[in-house]
C-alpha cells in the first residue's frame, strides 16, 4: 500500500505483485502522477508558448533505415536552442525522432525508452517492431488532451525489423494514428520541404553512405525554406543528428562523420544553391 520504498525500506506490495510487463501500466497503478499527459492544465486562452522542435526525417535503404533531425528549437520567432537533440535511440534496434513541444516530447521519449527496456528485462525478450510502434501510439493518444491545448508531440519512429530483416518507418498524427511509410517520411514544420527534396532524390537501392548524405541534403532544403528548421551551423560546428539502424543495431554518426557530409554538401551548394538536380523526365 505504501506509495514508495522510502517510507518502509522494503519493496511495497505493488512491486512484488505479478502483473503486466509494461512500465507504464505499473506507473499507472502505482504512481500515476508521474505519467506525462496525466497533468490537467488550467483553462487557457490560445496556445502555450513553449519551445518547439522542428524537422525530423527518415528513409530506408536495403539493410536498414536512417533517421535524422535538425538541431533548432524555436519559441515563436525566437530560436530557443541551437543544439537540441531530437533523435534518440529507443532501444538497440529502433529510434525515435520528435517534432512538437520539446519538453513533453523529451519526456515522452524517456518514458518510451524505459517502456521498451522494462519489457525486455521482465520478459527476457524484445517487443516486435510492430509492438513498439503500437506502444508509441498509445502514448501519443494519452497526450491528446494536452495536444488540444497546443502541446502536441508528433514523433517519427524507425527501426530495423529483425523478423523481416529490413528497415521500417512509422509516422504518427497527433491523435496517435499510426501509419507505416514506404521509402521515406518526414514530420515537423520543415517536413513539407524536406519531403519534396526526398521525393526528388530518393531511389531504391541506396547505399548507407548515400542514404546519410540524402537526409542531410533534405534537411538543408528544409532549413532553406523553413525558418524554424536549423541548417548546419558550420561556424559553431553544430551538425544535424544522423542515426543509422541496421542489423548491427543503432548507431549515431560521430561528429566528424556528419561534419564530413555537411562540408561536402556545403561545398556543392556554393555552386548550386538549390542542391542537386533531378531529371525532368
Amino acid at each position: 500500500m505504501e506509495a514508495n520504498t522510502r517510507s518502509t525500506g522494503r519493496l511495497p506490495a505493488a512491486f512484488l505483485t505479478p502483473g503486466s510487463s509494461s512500465f507504464m501500466d505499473f506507473l499507472t497503478d502505482h504512481q500515476p502522477e508521474l505519467l506525462p499527459g496525466k497533468q490537467t492544465l488550467p483553462p487557457l486562452k490560445g496556445a502555450i508558448e513553449a519551445p518547439h522542435g522542428t524537422t525530423i526525417l527518415a528513409l530506408t535503404f536495403p539493410g536498414g533505415v536512417v533517421l535524422a533531425g535538425d538541431r533548432r528549437a524555436t519559441m515563436g520567432n525566437v530560436i530557443a536552442s541551437r543544439d537540441m537533440q531530437k533523435v534518440f535511440p529507443a532501444d538497440e534496434y529502433s529510434a525515435v525522432g520528435i517534432a512538437g513541444t520539446a519538453g513533453l516530447a523529451v519526456e515522452m521519449v524517456k518514458l518510451f525508452q524505459l517502456e521498451l527496456e522494462h519489457f525486455e528485462k521482465v520478459e527476457g525478450a524484445q517487443l516486435s517492431l510492430e509492438g513498439k510502434a503500437n506502444r508509441l501510439s498509445t502514448m501519443i493518444r494519452g497526450n491528446l488532451s494536452m495536444a488540444m491545448q497546443g502541446l502536441a508531440v508528433v514523433p517519427l519512429f524507425a527501426g530495423y525489423d529483425t523478423d523481416s530483416e529490413k528497415g521500417r518507418i512509422f509516422s504518427y498524427d497527433v491523435t496517435g494514428g499510426r501509419s507505416e511509410e514506404r521509402g521515406f517520411a518526414a514530420t515537423g514544420s520543415g517536413s513539407v520541404y524536406a519531403r519534396g527534396a526526398l521525393k526528388k532524390l530518393y531511389r531504391d537501392g541506396l547505399t548507407e553512405q548515400q542514404a546519410t548524405t540524402l537526409v542531410v541534403q533534405a534537411l538543408y532544403d528544409a532549413a532553406d525554406d523553413d525558418s524554424a528548421t536549423g541548417g548546419p551551423d558550420l561556424a559553431r560546428r553544430i551538425y544535424p543528428t544522423v542515426t543509422v539502424i541496421t542489423d548491427e543495431g543503432f548507431r549515431q554518426l560521430a561528429e566528424t562523420e556528419s561534419a564530413a557530409i555537411v562540408r561536402a554538401i556545403h561545398e556543392r551548394r556554393l555552386e548550386l544553391p538549390d542542391g542537386p538536380r533531378a531529371e525532368i523526365l
Partner: protein, 279 residues
C-alpha cells in the same frame, strides 16, 4: 481452546532458517566473480528460458539460487524499483547498494514475519564500476542479512565448498576466459570432494562488461561465444602467459575442455592450482 505449544523465539528462527536453507540447497549453486573487464555470472542451468541471471539496470546484474517463483518475484520487483527510481531521479541514482538494501529489508521482513513462510532464496546483486575498484558485489541470504563480497562469491546448496575453492584460486585481473574456466571448475566440485563434468549446453553465463560501449553493460554469453571462451583459454593464456612454466600440451586440446574439467586448470589458474582433485 487448547494452549499452543510454547516455542522459543530462538528455536522458531532456527527452524525457519533451516527450512529456507534446505530449500536453497535443493537448487544448483552459482558463482559470481570479478575479472579484469567486469563481473561474470556462471551457473549450471539446464533451462534455456528460465534464467538465474538477469539485468536489473544499466550496470547492475542479479543472480539467484533457490526457488524460481520466489526469486523471479524479487527480480521483477527489483527491475520495477530500479526503473522507477531512474525515471524519477536519474539513471546514475540507481545503485546496487540501494537495491541490495531494499532486497535485504524485503527478505528480512518476510523472514521474521510469522504469517509468511521464509523465502527459499539466496541472491547476489552486483554492479560493475568504471574500474575494478568500483565493482560491488552483495550477497543476500534468505534472512535479509547483507554481505559485501569481493573477488568471488558462491551461493546455493554447495556454496561453502565452492567458495573455498574459489577463494584459493581467484585473483585480480583474470581474463574472462580464465575466470569462466575457474568458475566451471569450482561448480564441478561435489560436496564430497568429487568432480563431475558440466557440459557447455548446461551452463548459463552472463557478464557485466564495463568495456561495452552501450550504457547497458549486461550481456549473456551463449552459443559460439561461450564455446570459444571455454575452448580458447588455452591459446589465449599460452600467448599472454607464455612465461609460465606450464606445459602447453593440454591447453591445445580445446574439445577436452569444453566441459570445463578441472584438469583444464593447468592453463592459467593452474599456476595457483597445481593439480586437480585436490580434495
Amino acid at each position: 481452546m487448547s494452549t499452543p505449544f510454547y516455542v522459543s523465539p530462538q528455536q522458531a528462527m532456527a527452524d525457519r532458517a533451516e527450512y529456507a536453507r534446505k530449500g536453497i540447497a535443493r537448487g544448483r549453486s552459482l558463482v559470481v566473480l570479478q575479472y579484469a573487464d567486469g563481473i561474470v555470472f556462471v551457473g549450471e542451468n539446464p533451462s534455456r528460458a528460465l534464467h538465474k541471471f538477469s539485468e536489473i539496470y544499466d550496470r547492475i546484474g542479479f543472480a539467484a539460487a533457490g526457488k524460481y517463483n520466489e526469486y523471479e518475484n524479487l527480480r521483477i520487483g527489483g527491475v520495477r524499483y530500479a526503473d522507477l527510481r531512474g525515471y524519477t531521479y536519474d539513471r546514475t541514482d540507481v545503485t546496487a547498494r540501494g537495491l541490495a538494501n531494499v532486497y535485504a529489508q524485503t527478505l528480512g521482513t518476510i523472514f521474521s514475519s510469522a504469517g509468511e513462510k521464509p523465502y527459499e532464496v539466496e541472491l547476489v546483486v552486483a554492479e560493475v564500476g568504471v574500474s575494478p575498484e568500483g565493482d560491488q558485489i552483495y550477497r543476500l541470504p534468505h534472512d535479509g542479512s547483507i554481505v559485501d563480497e569481493h573477488g568471488s562469491v558462491a551461493v546455493g546448496g554447495n556454496a561453502e565448498t565452492i567458495s573455498t575453492y574459489l577463494d584459493q584460486r581467484h585473483r585480480e585481473g583474470m581474463t574472462l576466459a580464465e575466470a569462466l574456466k575457474l568458475a566451471v571448475q569450482a561448480l564441478s566440485r561435489d560436496t564430497n570432494g568429487g568432480e563431475r563434468e558440466i557440459p557447455a549446453e548446461r551452463l548459463e553465463v552472463a557478464v557485466l562488461d564495463r568495456t561495452r560501449p552501450q550504457a547497458r553493460k549486461f550481456k549473456r554469453i551463449i552459443g559460439r561465444q561461450l564455446a570459444r571462451l571455454l575452448a580458447a583459454d588455452g591459446d589465449a593464456t599460452a600467448e599472454t602467459d607464455s612465461a609460465l612454466d606450464e606445459e602447453p600440451g593440454p591447453d591445445e586440446n580445446p574439445p577436452s575442455k569444453r566441459g570445463g574439467k578441472p584438469r583444464g586448470g593447468s592453463g592459467k589458474s593452474g599456476s595457483a592450482d597445481s593439480g586437480d582433485g585436490g580434495k
